[in-house]
């Protein structure tokens, strides 16, 4: 068990390195002039000015050298400066990260809060009216793209009914808004992000609840007199396992979803930063963000791989990789 964990952790290092190299490759090596975003087409630069700009950005060095320079600096904690306004990338990330964390955690709580009871209901009473209704809702939620859902929610709750604010965080420049204000601004984006993962999570929970507990064990527990909440408590650990597994599958969705939702609701988090960085050819910022997101996915999967055998003794003997949540 310890060997398995050690092996996974050790392999994570080179994987992370590979991730950083791929991210750098994607952002820097493709055709497309990185200067194009910064040079105003109407004011042509003289040959020397352009050469100076290229040298300053080190575009005259080969790719591997540029990557090595970035790597050395990153190891020291220096992630470069944003092309857009010259601020250190690390500082920009630190500002935006709490917002994204708040949004994603709220969405996660909403997903689990909605998916678990519904999954349980659908597993236990698959033909009831509620189950059928929720199934219809699930199908609808899974074919409406998140950006459409964002627009619909905004049009309904913000424009038509005026119950909730349209966008932003409600944080005035000088201080923080009241908790109530923050909550009202958080409501729509979190709901939108949750909708994206909710259909998948509910179906998964339904399958998990239906199959996690073997019928014989269930019958035996019932025969001993366990009912309702006691029954759930008895099998809590067994039921929790697939839900932990689900977490690993949801994290990449949440990261991708954040990009759309933050952009649509002007939420000042890492996702919106990503769009700005990529559209504005802000390579240092985009690089750091790509690395962060891929690293988070890697960390989540690593956590699951370690946690799962720890919770489920049946999986401990093998040294192989545990299966992943379906794509």
């Amino acid at each position: 068990m310890a060997g398995f964990v050690a092996r996974r952790v050790l392999l994570a290092g080179p994987t992370l390195l590979g991730i950083s190299f791929l991210a750098f490759f994607v952002l820097s090596v493709l055709p497309g002039d990185p200067l194009a975003a910064r040079i105003d087409a109407d004011t042509p630069l003289s040959a020397e000015a352009e050469a100076r700009l290229r040298a300053e950005l080190r575009l005259d060095r080969p790719v591997l050298v540029r990557y090595a320079e970035w790597l050395v600096a990153a190891a020291r904690g220096d992630l470069g400066r944003s092309v857009h306004d010259g601020r250190p990338v690390a500082g920009i990330l630190r500002e935006a990260a709490p917002w994204t964390l708040l949004l994603n955690l709220s969405a996660l709580a909403t997903i689990y809060g909605l998916a678990l009871p519904l999954g349980l209901l659908q597993a236990r009473r698959p033909r009831s009216a509620w189950a059928r209704l929720s199934e219809g809702g699930l199908i609808l939620a899974s074919v409406i793209p998140p950006f459409v859902a964002a627009l619909l929610l905004q049009a309904l709750f913000a424009v038509r009914l005026g119950w909730l604010p349209l966008e932003g965080t409600g944080e005035p420049r000088s201080g923080f808004a009241s908790p109530g204000g923050l909550l009202s601004h958080l409501a729509l984006p979190a709901l939108c992000l949750a909708l994206a993962g909710w259909a998948f999570a509910t179906r998964y929970a339904r399958g998990a609840f239906a199959e996690a507990v073997p019928a014989s064990a269930l019958a035996a527990a019932r025969a001993r007199g366990l009912r309702g909440p006691d029954l759930l408590k008895h099998f809590a650990l067994l039921l929790a396992l697939p839900l932990v597994w689900l977490l690993g599958g949801i994290v990449p969705s949440l990261l991708s979803g954040s990009v759309i939702v933050e952009e649509a609701f002007s939420w000042p988090g890492l996702g919106r930063l990503m769009v700005q960085a990529v559209l504005g050819r802000d390579t240092p910022l985009a690089m750091a963000l790509l690395l962060l997101s891929a690293g988070s996915v890697l960390a989540a999967q690593l956590l699951i791989d370690i946690l799962y055998p720890a919770l489920d003794p049946r999986l401990r003997s093998e040294g192989g990789e545990t299966a992943r949540a379906p794509d």
């Binding site: 998948f200 969705s253 769009v275």
Partner: protein, 311 residues
């Protein structure tokens, strides 16, 4: 052959039953699957026919001697001609789905948008599946160091959320168009396809006929070609349908963010993005492309009755 997995049996019911000597049975859900396939085929035909169906040029223009027969297109509007005087017209007999900000007919743009979405969806999924089969299949057929290395490559590629990878690739390429979109989305989906290919190949390697073929001396590649590929048909169809849905979703998302195909070529996601500010007053600019997206996705996802995950 009876012990093979249900998916394979569903994919080749005739073959399996014929070899066992029982009358061929249709697997459950085949009728709805065929209906779904037919509808998708219809959508594809629509995409192909769009330039003739929605155009200001007549559908038929025949001259017979001194007589002339002109049949206008069913949707007699161009998808790109700007008519500012008809900007934001609500749905009417003249414009069945209304017009957008620049006065372009929404229905015409909707029909033409089918081409962009389906082309990119199919193209990207094809690319991802080919690359994925190569990566994952090789990893499964050659266990040991090759598997380990390829497994790391797949893991590295798969750690990037597909949207972020596609976004970065398309934006970094600096070009807008169908080919960068296909390349970017294919890259984002390759890891999933590779994992699928590797898992399926590993699973099929445990079957009896694989062992028999290898025991009688066939090499891994030969056996794979003759026995594995036919067995992969059914799961591949499932994965392809799901993949196309994801690709279309990615394409529309990128279009919404402004990175889609170059205007004036319409794309559903782009239409939704363009309608963003005016949704409250001109609901038709968003509602119709959104409905088109939802219907297409629903068709694709119901096809193999696979659970959908939005990203």
């Amino acid at each position: 052959m009876h012990r093979t997995d249900p998916a394979a049996v569903a994919g080749a019911p005739g073959a399996a039953s014929a070899s066992a000597g029982v009358p061929s049975e249709r697997p459950p859900g085949a009728r709805s699957r065929r209906a779904g396939l037919a509808l998708l085929g219809g959508l594809g035909l629509l995409a192909l026919a769009a330039p003739r169906l929605a155009s200001e040029d007549p559908l038929l223009d025949l001259r017979l001697g001194s007589a002339r027969l002109t049949v206008p297109a069913p949707v007699p509007w161009s998808e790109r001609r700007v008519r500012l005087e008809e900007s934001l017209a609500p749905p009417s007999r003249r414009h069945l789905c209304g017009t957008d900000l620049l006065g372009r007919d929404v229905l015409a743009r909707l029909l033409h948008g089918t081409r962009a979405s389906l082309t990119i969806g199919f193209g990207a999924t094809l690319g991802a599946l080919l690359l994925g089969l190569l990566l994952g299949g090789t990893a499964a057929l050659r266990p040991g160091p090759v598997d380990l290395m390829l497994g790391r490559v797949i893991e590295i590629l798969g750690s990037f959320p597909p949207l972020l990878l596609a976004l970065s690739l398309v934006a970094a390429s600096g070009q807008r168009g169908i080919l960068p979109m296909i390349a970017g989305i294919a890259a984002g989906r390759t890891a999933a396809a590779a994992r699928f290919a590797r898992a399926e190949t590993l699973r099929l390697q445990g079957t009896s006929f694989w062992l028999a073929a290898r025991a009688s001396g066939a090499g891994p590649w030969q056996t794979a070609r003759r026995h594995l590929l036919p067995m992969l048909e059914a799961p591949l169809l499932v994965q392809a349908a799901f993949g196309i849905a994801q690709a279309i979703l990615l394409e529309s998302t990128l279009g919404f963010l402004g990175l889609g195909v170059e205007p004036p070529i319409p794309s559903w996601g782009q239409m939704i993005g363009e309608g963003r500010g005016i949704a409250a007053v001109a609901w038709w600019t968003i509602a119709y492309p959104a409905a088109a997206l939802a219907v297409t996705l629903a068709l694709l996802l119901r096809l193999p009755k696979v659970d959908s995950r939005v990203w």
